[in-house]
């Protein structure tokens, strides 16, 4: 069955609103190909039924998954650059100075998708710290079980490793496995991956020194954004660092954060006494 025009238009409008990416008319086929796995997973017959289901009862998780399936950008390593380069240049030295030599640093990648973000962090730390494996633990969470399993597996396709992963890091931290590339075992050991719904009460975790919560808040309404930021703050160290997506901010949402300009981007830190 082909995708009804009304469904296609709804998807186009959603993707444009959330990602500024324009799906040209005639891309119905792309929408069908990208969303079919999600439809199947939900036990639906086709993409038309999926769109009707989400349209009639919108929920942030489904809309996020639809947008992610249709926007290839999220699969980049070092996406947006600065939140990663400033991790080793600014954030890490500050956190290390504030902790004892035997204290383990805890980092949270809160919407880890297929794993590019937590492994980018792991590679940077491995290259910056002589004993990263003992010194740091990275918690990677995602709403989707499939994404959590992909993160755990640490295997990436040729097209995925082509997306913004520096070649020297590819050869240092990956080996080939058939047609895929597999992350080195020492990096996989640094990461614990699990399912987690940010819009619900969070499990006991942390306290985190650094949190990456990028390109998630945009999918939620104001009160949910506020609830998520509050729950995240409760899991952070008082002197921790929060990275949001390039189009996201705490300003006008939750005033208990201090914005710190780092390079061309920003990080957020819990305001004292807030």
């Amino acid at each position: 069955m082909t995708l009804p025009a009304t469904s296609f238009d709804w998807v186009r409008a959603l993707v444009h609103r959330e990602s500024a990416i324009v799906l040209a008319p005639g891309k119905e086929y792309l929408v069908e190909a990208r969303l079919l796995p999600m439809a199947r997973q939900l036990g639906l017959a086709d993409v038309g039924s999926l769109v009707e289901k989400v349209r009639s009862r919108p929920d942030p998780d489904s809309t996020r998954r639809i947008v992610e399936a249709l926007t290839t950008n999220e699969t980049s390593w070092f996406r947006d650059g600065d939140p990663f380069t400033t991790l080793t240049s600014t954030v890490l030295p500050s956190v290390l100075a504030a902790r004892g030599p035997n204290e383990r640093l805890q980092i949270w990648s809160a919407a880890c998708s297929s794993g590019q973000e937590p492994y980018t962090i792991a590679m940077l730390l491995e290259d910056a710290l002589p004993n990263a494996g003992q010194r740091v633990s990275i918690t990677a969470t995602d709403l989707s079980r499939e994404m959590v399993e992909r993160t755990r597996a640490g295997r990436f396709s040729q097209l995925e490793v082509n997306r913004g992963l520096p070649a020297p890091m590819l050869v240092r931290h990956f080996t080939r496995a058939g047609n895929e590339w597999e992350v080195a075992a020492n990096l996989r050991r640094m990461i614990t991956a699990s399912e987690c719904n940010l819009a619900a009460p969070l499990p006991r975790m942390g306290p985190f020194d650094v949190v990456y919560l990028r390109n998630v808040l945009i999918y939620f309404d104001l009160s949910t954004k506020q609830a998520i930021l509050r729950r995240v703050r409760e899991l952070m160290r008082p002197d921790g660092w929060l990275f949001l997506g390039a189009a996201e901010t705490t300003l006008g949402v939750d005033d208990s954060w201090e914005r710190v300009v780092l390079g061309r981007s920003s990080a957020y830190r819990p305001l004292k006494g807030a």
Binding site: K27, A33, Q158, N179
Partner: protein, 191 residues
């Protein structure tokens, strides 16, 4: 190709015996070849281009493009399709930089480059190190050993296309007479 059928019962044995020369089915499976070809299509031909795993009969003339792989396994990675389809593939690959009028040379070049991309990735998925030739276009090299072939048949925009990794060497002679005493023979040639 009668050699493939001599002593059909001992194929598994023969494959792993002799001088240990591997056949392609020992080294790569069809799903791996399929994922290589699908990645090439998505990236080069178009994001929404799908390959349907069905065999079909090409209409009219066919053309092949291939690269040779030389290493622990020696053979060719061959793409074969109808001439019209190869031209359509060229237009899709070149997209907006496609010339008004496609020359044969454009089609040979583009189809050859697709064979290079698929062949390079097949080579990389094989164990050990191998060398890759420059692409060639024309009539595909003959299959020398039907057991040394991994072949994938797909439809692209409804038109048939085949992708195969095929060994360049004839099957090894059976090292020992199979039980039953029949000596191996190759079309009557002495061994």
């Amino acid at each position: 190709m009668s050699t493939a059928h001599t002593g059909g019962i001992d194929t598994g044995e023969r494959r792993r015996s002799g001088d240990g020369r591997p056949v392609i089915t020992d080294l790569i499976d069809e799903p791996t070849v399929q994922s290589i070809v699908e990645d090439a299509w998505v990236a080069l031909v178009g994001e929404d281009e799908v390959l349907i795993p069905l065999a079909g009969e090409p209409i009219g003339d066919v053309v092949s493009a291939w690269v040779d792989v030389v290493g622990p396994w020696t053979g060719s990675v061959v793409l074969t399709t109808g001439r019209q389809t190869a031209a359509e593939l060229t237009r899709a690959l070149l997209a907006e930089s496609s010339p008004e009028l496609l020359e044969d040379e454009d089609v040979a070049d583009a189809f050859g480059e697709i064979a290079n991309v698929v062949g390079g990735n097949v080579k990389a998925a094989l164990p050990g190190s191998s060398a890759l030739s420059l692409p060639e276009v024309g009539e595909a090299p003959a299959v020398r050993n039907p057991e040394d072939v991994v072949r994938l048949d797909v439809l692209w925009r409804g038109q048939p296309l085949s992708i195969s990794a095929q060994g360049a060497l004839p099957p090894l002679p059976v090292p020992h007479p199979p039980p039953g005493g029949q000596s191996p023979h190759e079309n009557g040639a002495s061994l």
